[in-house]
């Protein structure tokens, strides 16, 4: 881009995407707890009710399964709801509606019905919020056919991907890292969208591939800077969506570098990292010089105490150490 780039926060990028899509399509509306005047506890939606009114930015009772189900009913009858599920941990309350209803309506009806709906929710620890407000449950929803799952990592990506999600004819679970809302980054003023299923190389490198999602992209980039100091060139790839998954991008990168670590803030066991690691192990087997490693949240309920919580999530340092080991430089 030739003109100087505009910088906005992740939260502002979310708000812009919603506002643009709501202006573009009168069927788009937002429904959830404290979304109107409060603009959510994270203030991500501040200002939207003033522009679009309470009919389109609807405060609900504290009834996650109820308003999630109602969103699905509205979606299959011509609307395009964006359902706000305040904390990713509350996805557990909505699972019947998302998994048994939304995800299956198109298939079970033999393609006659569709549910164009976005479930916006959050993820991420290190906010001192305790075990029920800190989980990253993207693996749960990524496991279910019929859902698309987006986990953006930059203001630019979140805006383009959210606009795509709202225009998509399928149920989309859109997971934002709570710690990222204040992060700034370049976002063009012009309209754009980002297609699903296209990974983004956040940093080019030759010696090791770091596949990182959402909150872990910044961690991987930090680790890559540390690795550069000791002469290791790391490539950082962000899948951006776990469903659909850009398998070929990881395989190509791993073929080039011959080493890979997959990093995601969900629990390490049975997680997003397991799926992506197996894709790489399978697709780049003959090119690998080391086993594919996975790094995720420690398999414990996220503790409250900062002294403990900080141990549970991969950091620049732990990723750096793992990469060094894989490159036999320790």
């Amino acid at each position: 881009m030739s003109t100087p780039e505009r910088e906005i926060t992740f939260a502002e990028a979310v708000r812009e995407a919603l506002a643009e899509e709501m202006r573009r399509d009168s069927n788009v509306f937002i429904m959830g707890e404290d979304v109107a005047e409060a603009g959510t506890p994270f203030k991500v939606l501040s200002g939207l009710v003033e522009e679009f009114g309470k009919e389109r930015v609807m405060d609900t009772p504290i009834s996650e399964p109820g308003f999630t189900g109602m969103g699905i009913g509205a979606a299959i009858t011509g609307m395009r709801p964006v359902i706000d599920i305040m904390f990713g941990d509350f996805l557990t309350l909505t699972m019947d509606q998302i998994v048994n209803q939304a995800a299956k309506i198109h298939y079970m009806s033999g393609g006659k019905m569709k549910a164009p709906i976005v479930f916006r929710t959050t993820m991420g620890a290190s906010r001192r919020s305790g075990a029920q407000h800190s989980q990253s449950l993207q693996a749960w929803v990524s496991h279910v056919p019929g859902l698309k799952v987006v986990i953006p990592s930059t203001p630019y990506d979140v805006k383009g991907l959210l606009k795509t999600a709202i225009r998509d004819d399928n149920p989309v679970v859109f997971i934002e890292d709570k710690m990222m809302f204040k992060m700034k980054g370049p976002v063009p003023a012009e309209e754009y969208t980002i297609p699903f299923g296209v990974a983004d190389i956040k940093r080019k490198g030759d010696d090791i591939t770091l596949v990182a999602t959402s909150s872990m992209v910044q961690v991987a980039l930090g680790a890559a800077n540390m690795l550069e100091q000791i002469g290791i060139s790391a490539e950082v790839i962000d899948p951006r969506t776990t469903t659909p998954l850009d398998r070929q991008a990881f395989i190509e990168s791993a073929k080039k570098t011959s080493r890979a670590i997959v990093i995601d803030e969900g629990y390490e066991s049975y997680g997003v990292t397991a799926e992506i690691a197996s894709v790489i192990a399978d697709g780049a087997f003959y090119y690998l010089d080391a086993p594919v490693k996975r790094m995720g949240a420690m398999n414990v309920p996220i503790p409250f105490s900062p002294a403990l919580e900080d141990l549970t999530v991969p950091t620049e340092e732990t990723v750096f150490q793992m990469a060094k080991t894989l490159c036999r430089r320790d």
């Binding site: 009913g73 209803q101 309506i105 033999g110």
Partner: protein, 334 residues
């Protein structure tokens, strides 16, 4: 349809529009005959899986749907064949779906518990008890947002009264005056358990707690079901908000077709009592013939015609081809 329902408000039960009630009778017979054949398909091991028969409850689905327009919405249940047929589904495509055939309403991918026919306003049967409460209420919200005067009906059994989702959405429906009727078909049994063992307090009090107008009626009297629903639907169309209608009814068969030995949870005498004294088809027939509104021969001819239609529909389903194997991963995403 509109003309018919408008005139019905002025009609006393004695002065029924015979043509309309013959049509209602035909629909109830169709459901009864359909279910008899569905049971037969199960017993002969022609039908894959199990199915939940609606026999005995016909007056509820038919009475309610008769008060609706084609573009009004319904959501149905695991015991849903009656709702689908009453809202306008055709028997041949229903049988095809029950048998997993491509010609079925859902290309064979849904089956007995997932028949959806958006063309007739049927947003789908649901195999999660109470699972469609949110969907039906959301359809009512959507109708209101779009400025249409469509009404939604959420059918569920009394077993769904145990599910929290229902109370969450009734709260919002009342708060936002949504055009929805919650039709609770109380057939006395939560699967294999009498509802009195599973339900505390009063059924209608649940809705009344949310400020929702609630009534309990005899669900075997199709005329009463129709006239009550019509009143509640008109109210909802006028923007006066949701209503809750408990229809007391009975399922003649078990929880599903395989539930044959039922004496451990209900007596044969009780089943006979309902079949003999409270059968919705007999009750309507008695009213029509007894009131000299029609002859028994007219009703007999309806039964003969329906039997032939159902027989043909079943044969269509049996003869129809299965979906091609390439269908298996189609329609996962729109």
């Amino acid at each position: 349809m509109t003309r018919k329902t408008e005139s019905a408000t002025k009609r006393s039960p004695e002065a029924m529009d015979v043509e309309q009630w013959l049509h209602v009778y035909e629909k109830m017979v169709k459901i009864r005959e359909f279910e008899e054949k569905a049971n037969e398909l199960y017993l002969k091991a022609i039908m894959p899986g199990l199915t939940h028969l609606y026999s005995g409850q016909e007056a509820v689905a038919v009475g309610v749907c008769e008060a609706l327009r084609r573009e009004d919405y319904i959501t149905s249940t695991h015991r849903g064949h009656g709702h689908c047929l009453a809202k306008g589904a055709s028997v041949d495509l229903m049988f095809a779906e029950l048998l997993g055939k491509e010609a079925g309403y859902c290309r064979g991918k849904g089956g007995s518990m997932h028949i959806a026919d958006p063309a007739s306003g049927n947003l789908g049967a649901n195999a999660i008890v109470g699972g469609s409460a949110g969907i039906a209420t959301g359809a009512a919200l959507s109708a209101k947002k779009r400025g249409s005067d469509q009404v939604a009906v959420c059918f569920f059994g009394e077993g769904a009264l145990g599910q929290g989702l229902l109370y969450e959405v009734m709260n919002m429906a009342s708060l936002w005056k949504l055009p929805i009727i919650y039709v609770c078909e109380n057939n006395l049994y939560n699967e294999y358990t009498h509802y009195s063992e599973a339900l505390a307090g009063k059924v209608t009090a649940r809705a009344e707690a949310f400020g929702i107008h609630a009534e309990t009626i005899d669900g075997q009297d199709v005329q009463l079901v129709y006239e009550t629903t019509k009143r509640l639907v008109e109210r909802a169309r006028r923007g006066e908000g949701p209503a809750f209608l408990e229809c007391m009814t009975y399922r003649y068969y078990g929880h599903h077709v395989g539930d044959i030995s039922r004496t451990y949870y209900r007596s044969k005498e009780e089943e006979q009592e309902w079949r003999n004294k409270r059968d919705p088809l007999k009750l309507l027939a008695d009213k029509l013939v007894g009131g000299k509104l029609t002859d028994q021969s007219v009703l007999d001819r309806i039964v003969t015609d329906v039997r032939s239609e159902v027989e043909k529909g079943m044969q269509f389903g049996i003869d129809a081809p299965y979906p091609d194997q390439s269908e298996v991963n189609q329609h996962v995403y729109a």
